[in-house]
Point group: C2
Chain length 411, copies 2
């Protein structure tokens, strides 16, 4: 069985073909600059060199066509015929309150996505375009949608309601949704395996720290609270997103600098976070390097990022009434021991204590590590995430008609 | 020695006369509807009936004149002559980064307040008008300013910088300032006394929960972090203020409902918080009563308020690496055992455990209580706040030329 996974952004289309029986990725790639001119595709078949193909893609349809062409290309392809594809899994960023699990896409589902596309104006419209293009070209295979928000639909009102006018929730769907669900689901399940416990019997704090950053409190195996909110800008300090700040600052600066709401959205999403503080860096490697060279603003960015991570660890430990494990994942979580160490520094009083040596060597994106000190009450794990696997598992389970609640998976 | 304390709001002027030698309040009152027509004063001399005097006060000057007239009024007054006043202490909400302690007011200080009045447009302009009116009428006594922000000027950049463009800090002074400083300073000092420890040797979490709500992490006796930020709207759920929420919601709703930045400021400060959630209540007594009667939205407001308090307790405990005591103060902190209990529920794992019986009876605004369980590692106190005392102490110390760092006081 072969699964195509598609992830269309506003000007890009990422893809992967997965061989379910052999359990491996056959190829993956990305078409960039879709709709904006100068488009090209970077394509990589497993075990072969990466190739770059230039081809104008005025719409997402041409991008999907290019991808399918490449998949069967005699030189670069991995399939004889597109008919070998058994199903297509589409990433959809926002499922609103409607979708608490992955679904088979039909007209009704597409209509529902269109109704909530407003909630994720940068992502959902492109996701829908990608679905429509792919369904147009591959009308005979099932298409499934896997959503970033679905995992968090187990949250309860005290965790997801903001203390804002209540009719903004009722009429405008303003609430905390949370994102990064596929990654968080995956590491939650893996943590249960590492703990040797029933996934529905454990409390976890999950820290997905990449360019985007999510903290997730998991109570008895399901998502209880998360740091990203109505949009992916809330919560922790990110590469270019501000995370938590006094919302009144926004209205103050709009008046000072004569900015529009759209300008502000751009600033808090693209010009803030580590970039805002340092003025130049978004990549933590650059921040760490500059800090080592004595750059004070880089040091501030590092301290701020770690301090905010520490506050979320404390907040969620309190929210859960104690935890079994803290889990680090994604680029920074997997690869930055200094950030992990600083963020967990001084938490012995709540049973969290790492082994500095184990922490230092846990720097691969493949292997799972237990970096807790021998006497730590709480386990601390580094678990490389695998969002693709969640996509494929969901798609195959839907295809084989054995798909259940999103939360019921085991890995 | 007699001290007049003045607190001018945009359309009000609160006052108190304190007899330093007898250590008691001689009278206090408030002039309401200043500048907006229909002004009146409610005046209460200690031990006598409250009286209401109607008198038009088109500016703060007339309000201050009315107050001084009442102080020497043969029937309602407490002084023979205004010359008996030895000094005037003025509440100034915002001291910016310039003032880390109370000061004697001179032209230079007034100029500095004017330079930052932009940071607290609802409060500082009125505070300055009050100072100017009082200095005009009582030019021969010293006037002192006591600021809400001063206590928090010990915070360091990782705690007070937002992950926003750094020049917003450098050019526009955008940062976390924190408020409620006089109350927090007072209860921090009292907690040291109750613990029987040097105030500079203890870590505390202070919860000032009134209409406005501040959490404060105190490290080795000084303010380390606090929940209110650039403005008093950030942080916990309040009577009408939203506290923390995804700032992107603001820009989204502005576009949806065609709102201006000023409209948004009004909504997040006056129509949110408990009022936003319940649609009708700001007073916790009403919330608790409605909840007991089965009102689901009141229950949500209660759960939300307590949940957010709990997260701040956890976050600050982590930030401090453990605490000696958690302190509750202000209207709700002193009088609402249910809110305290729910917010601290399940925190045994971090050494915080209350005695339910002690908690239940700690419901006065006068006496200090230790409500911790016998085996609680962390002490939990209810300490009635006394902001007036801080005002008066600061003024007298300045007057007697023995005023030191704001943080160095003992009570
Ligand atoms: N060795 C490393 N040390 C510190 N940070 C790293 C390291 N390797 C990768 N990262 C960081 O991981 C982040 C990207 O995370 P990743 O999860 O790969 O991306 P995304 O969030 O875009 O999916 C970047 O900020 C990068 O600096
Ligand atoms: N018995 C009580 N139970 C619950 N809340 C109370 C009680 N008494 C006072 N409060 C609350 O205290 C809050 C006012 O706090 P206070 O510190 O007096 O005011 P402010 O913050 O305006 O200075 C109100 O919301 C009120 O409901």
């Amino acid at each position: 069985m072969k699964i195509l996974v598609l992830n269309c952004g506003s000007s890009s289309a990422k893809y992967m073909v997965y061989d379910w029986d052999a359990k491996n990725i056959m190829c993956k790639g990305i078409v960039e600059r879709v709709t904006i001119g100068g488009s090209f595709c970077e394509h990589e078949a497993t075990g072969r060199d990466k190739v770059k193909i230039e081809r104008e893609c005025p719409t997402h349809r041409e991008a999907v066509e290019l991808i399918l062409e490449l998949l069967v290309n005699p030189e670069h392809g991995v399939l004889k015929d597109v008919k070998e594809i058994d199903a297509v899994g589409h990433r959809v960023v926002h499922g609103g309150e409607r979708f608490a699990k992955s679904v088979i896409i039909d007209d009704e589902v597409i209509k529902a996505f269109k109704e909530i596309q407003d909630l994720a104006p940068l992502h959902n419209p492109a996701n829908i375009l990608g679905i429509e293009a792919a369904v147009g070209i591959l009308p005979d295979v099932p298409h499934m949608a896997v959503m970033d928000t679905a995992w968090h639909q187990t949250m309860k009102p005290p965790q997801f309601i903001y203390a804002l006018p209540y009719d903004w929730y009722e009429k405008n769907k303003v609430r905390r949704y949370g994102f990064h669900g596929t990654s968080l689901l995956y590491v939650a399940k893996r943590a249960a395996v590492l703990l040797g416990k029933d996934p529905f019997d454990i409390n976890l704090i999950l820290l997905h720290v990449g360019n985007g950053v999510s903290a997730n409190a998991v109570k008895k195996g399901i998502s209880y609270d998360t740091s990203m909110g109505f949009t992916p800008q809330e919560g922790l300090v990110m590469g270019t997103r501000a995370g938590d700040f006094d919302a009144a600052v926004g209205f103050y600066m709009m008046q000072k600098l004569n900015l529009s709401p759209k300008d502000m959205e751009t600033i808090i999403n693209k010009k803030s976070g580590l970039l805002g503080i340092t003025g130049k860096f978004t990549d933590r490697r650059d921040v760490l390097e500059a800090m080592a060279d004595g750059d004070k603003r880089a040091e501030l960015a590092f301290e701020l990022e770690c301090y905010r991570l520490k506050k979320y660890i404390g907040a969620y430990a309190a929210a859960l009434g104690g935890v079994d494990a803290v889990v680090w994942t994604a680029g920074v979580g997997e690869m930055a021991p200094d950030i992990r160490a600083r963020s967990m520094d001084g938490l012995d009083f709540m049973g969290i204590k790492i082994d500095p040596e184990k922490n230092k060597v846990a720097m691969t994106r493949n292997s799972e590590s237990d970096i807790s000190a021998a006497d730590s009450k709480v386990k601390v794990f580094v678990i490389p995430t695998d969002e693709e696997l969640v996509f494929v598992e969901d798609v195959v389970a839907l295809l084989e008609n054995r798909y259940d609640e999103h939360t019921n998976f085991k890995y």
